[in-house]
């Protein structure tokens, strides 16, 4: 086969690849695949022409963005979807803010301490505690509130890492991935956020609170009990 030949002849060849089962499962469980996983990204890029119609039959779009990442967007009933929790959203948006700053270019990381400080700067301590966990009331004890907020942020980070938005590194460092740009999407095009949100809701990228779809609160409860 010459280098100009397409890498895969048909869908059967794609599915027969060793990487397919793992990547298929990762995409279906909501993971984003970016260029920091070069082999996986290349595989999806090569196979996209066959995988897009394949996933459409399951009611999902295989999306490749100009920011350099793939993800599976559920648009029908066949592939279940979940909404990110408010904690995951706030943490993801704040990390996306870091991703847009030149200061993170040098290392591509931020520390957990920096993230918490920025969240407090943006929201204020009291709003932050409520925002991170809506069942939790802001407590008078400052140190207790800070500890709980930290635990909520760490929990959100773990789930964002499972979705391919960040890498959790040693010494409380967080590696920023290109998929964080998904959090920027609602503010990217129009200055009017509501207008942009309506477009994203129609596309199936974003959900609003009044929709029937459930967020991941059940998992929160389980973890809280644990």
């Amino acid at each position: 086969m010459s280098s100009l030949d397409p890498p895969f002849a048909d869908l059967a060849a794609v599915i027969a690849e060793d990487a397919f089962p793992r990547l298929d499962q990762a995409l279906r469980s909501g993971r984003h695949v970016d260029r920091r996983s070069p082999a996986d990204y290349q595989f999806l890029e090569d196979a996209a022409v066959f995988l897009e119609p394949h996933y459409r039959r399951y009611g999902a779009d295989l999306v490749q963005t100009s920011d350099g990442y793939f993800y599976l967007r559920p648009v029908g009933e066949r592939l279940p979807a979940r909404r990110l929790t408010p904690a995951e959203m706030l943490v993801g948006q704040t990390l996306a803010l870091y991703h847009l700053e030149p200061a993170t270019l040098e290392t591509g990381t931020v520390s957990l301490g920096q993230l918490l400080e920025r969240l407090r700067d943006l929201l204020g301590n009291e709003v932050l505690v409520t925002a991170l966990n809506h069942r939790r009331k802001a407590t008078a004890a400052q140190h207790l509130a800070e500890r709980k907020a930290r635990a909520d942020v760490v929990r959100a980070l773990r789930r964002l890492a499972a979705l391919g938005f960040v890498d959790l590194l040693e010494n409380d460092q967080i590696g920023l991935r290109d998929a964080l740009m998904r959090f920027v999407e609602p503010v990217r095009t129009a200055p009017d956020l509501s207008e942009a949100l309506q477009a994203l809701v129609r596309r199936g990228d974003v959900a609003l609170p009044d929709e029937g779809e459930l967020d991941d609160d059940e998992v929160d409860e389980d973890e809280d009990e644990a």
Binding site: L105, L193, L200, D205, P209
Partner: protein
């Protein structure tokens, strides 16, 4: 050096309290000595000349009232730490001559000379390594022909351990310099972006491409020279092996490891810079060019700050995990644990002595006298029993009591002093007729 030797060396250093304390002014004085020696051609300083030099330097960098006194103190401190050394053999009475120690030269070199790895320095150093190794190979071939132990030691192992190793160390030192300059370039790129944003594009792209080109060149040179050097080392190794020269083999192995370290460094820095290069280009393309006014960051910051006004959330796929059945396991019949049956031989033991008293009668008497607890019955009956038999009687008394009256088992443990034990007390009452 073996690991225990390391421990001993470190322990000795710690015990001596080895330390270095040099402040900025003292570093400037050392640098002034170095620069003057370079300009004047002599490394030696008379006592008076040294004091004048220090005084002038200190007056220039940190003005104070009494620079002469500070100069004298600085000379004392640097001498005490072995940075400035007296190199004449004269006694204390006569004025001496001073120079920078090798330690001080290294300190000054660190601040004055930027030993970064360039194409020219790498080519020159590795070219010398190849020439050195070629000479070592010729010497090894001659030593192999003559079988001379001294020739192996002086002309093969010696140059390998000293000349080649020192040259490779020179490359390693310059690698550290290049690492430092790369860190500086990264910091400069960040500074340019923070200061000028869109206007910084041209300068940043130039810095990125220049560094990438340098690293690609260095990587290619390293690979080319290291391959040739490994070939020469292999030939030396074969000759040393044939003649059983263990120490030469060790020196060959160490030099080979040093070469491998250089290659690994080249590969890792090239890969790291490629990743950084990609990240910066992505940033310039997706963020800087598309958002020249930094509106994106401002809008995102505003959206976060207005929480919970806009409570939208991203949707992600969440397919249930596939149920993976466990692999079928073969049922293995577990043999029963058995042992050879042995005949039981009873141990001779004295038969329990028959109660010497009428226990049932005593229990009846105690109950008739109104004892309403097991502990009370025991307190009445046991004193009538010989002391050595009391312990064994407790159970029998309890059995008789249980047989004769109804009882409630309490949770309280109560002491029975006659037998030095505790029993769970029972509350007793008579059977209904």
């Amino acid at each position: 050096m073996s690991r225990p030797d390391h421990h001993r060396t470190l322990a000795r250093l710690a015990a001596r309290g080895a330390h270095l304390r040099i402040d900025t002014a003292e570093i400037c004085c050392l640098a002034a000595m170095h620069l003057q020696a370079e300009a004047g051609g002599s490394m030696l300083f008379g006592e008076e000349a040294l004091a004048d030099l220090f005084e002038a330097t200190l007056a220039a960098v940190i003005p104070s009232d009494n620079p002469r006194k500070r100069a004298t103190h600085a000379i004392e401190r640097l001498r005490a730490q072995g940075l400035v050394v007296r190199i004449d053999a004269a006694g204390m009475v006569k004025a001496g001559e001073y120079a920078l120690s090798t330690l001080a030269q290294a300190v000054v070199g660190r601040f004055l000379h930027n030993e970064a790895l360039t194409r020219a320095s790498l080519d020159g150093l590795l070219g010398s390594v190849i020439r050195g190794l070629s000479e070592v190979l010729v010497a090894a071939q001659e030593a192999a022909g003559g079988g001379d132990t001294e020739a192996w030691r002086d002309r093969v192992r010696g140059p390998l351990e000293v000349v080649v190793s020192e040259l490779l160390s020179g490359v390693e030192r310059r690698q550290l310099g290049l690492d430092e300059s790369q860190r500086a370039i990264r910091a400069e790129i960040t500074r340019l972006l923070e200061a000028d944003w869109l206007d910084a594009l041209g300068g940043i792209e130039g810095l990125l491409d220049e560094t990438a080109d340098t690293l690609t060149e260095l990587k290619g040179l390293l690979l080319q020279h290291a391959t040739r050097a490994h070939g020469l080392l292999d030939e030396v190794r074969v000759l040393a092996q044939e003649h059983g020269r263990i120490e030469t083999l060790v020196a060959v192995r160490r030099t080979g490891e040093q070469l491998d370290r250089l290659l690994a460094w080249g590969r890792s820095r090239h890969a790291a810079w490629s990743e950084y290069h990609r990240a910066v280009h992505r940033f310039l393309r997706d963020v800087v060019r598309l958002d020249p006014d930094r509106q994106l960051s401002n809008r995102l910051r505003q959206a976060i700050g207005e929480w919970p006004k806009h409570r939208y959330t991203l949707r992600v796929a969440q397919a249930p995990r596939l149920t993976v059945l466990p692999p079928p396991s073969r049922v293995v019949a577990q043999p029963a644990v058995r042992r050879v049956r042995q005949e039981y031989t009873p141990v001779d033991a004295a038969p329990p002595a028959a109660p010497p008293v009428d226990l049932a009668g005593l229990v009846d008497l105690a109950l008739a006298d109104g004892a309403d607890r097991l502990s009370a019955v025991l307190a009445r009956v046991l004193p009538q029993v010989p002391p050595e038999a009391r312990y064994g009687m407790v159970g029998r008394v309890a059995a008789l009591v249980a047989h004769r009256s109804r009882r409630t088992v309490g949770a309280r443990w109560i002491a029975v002093p006659e037998v030095a034990l505790e029993v769970t007390d029972w509350t007793l009452w008579e059977e209904d007729a």
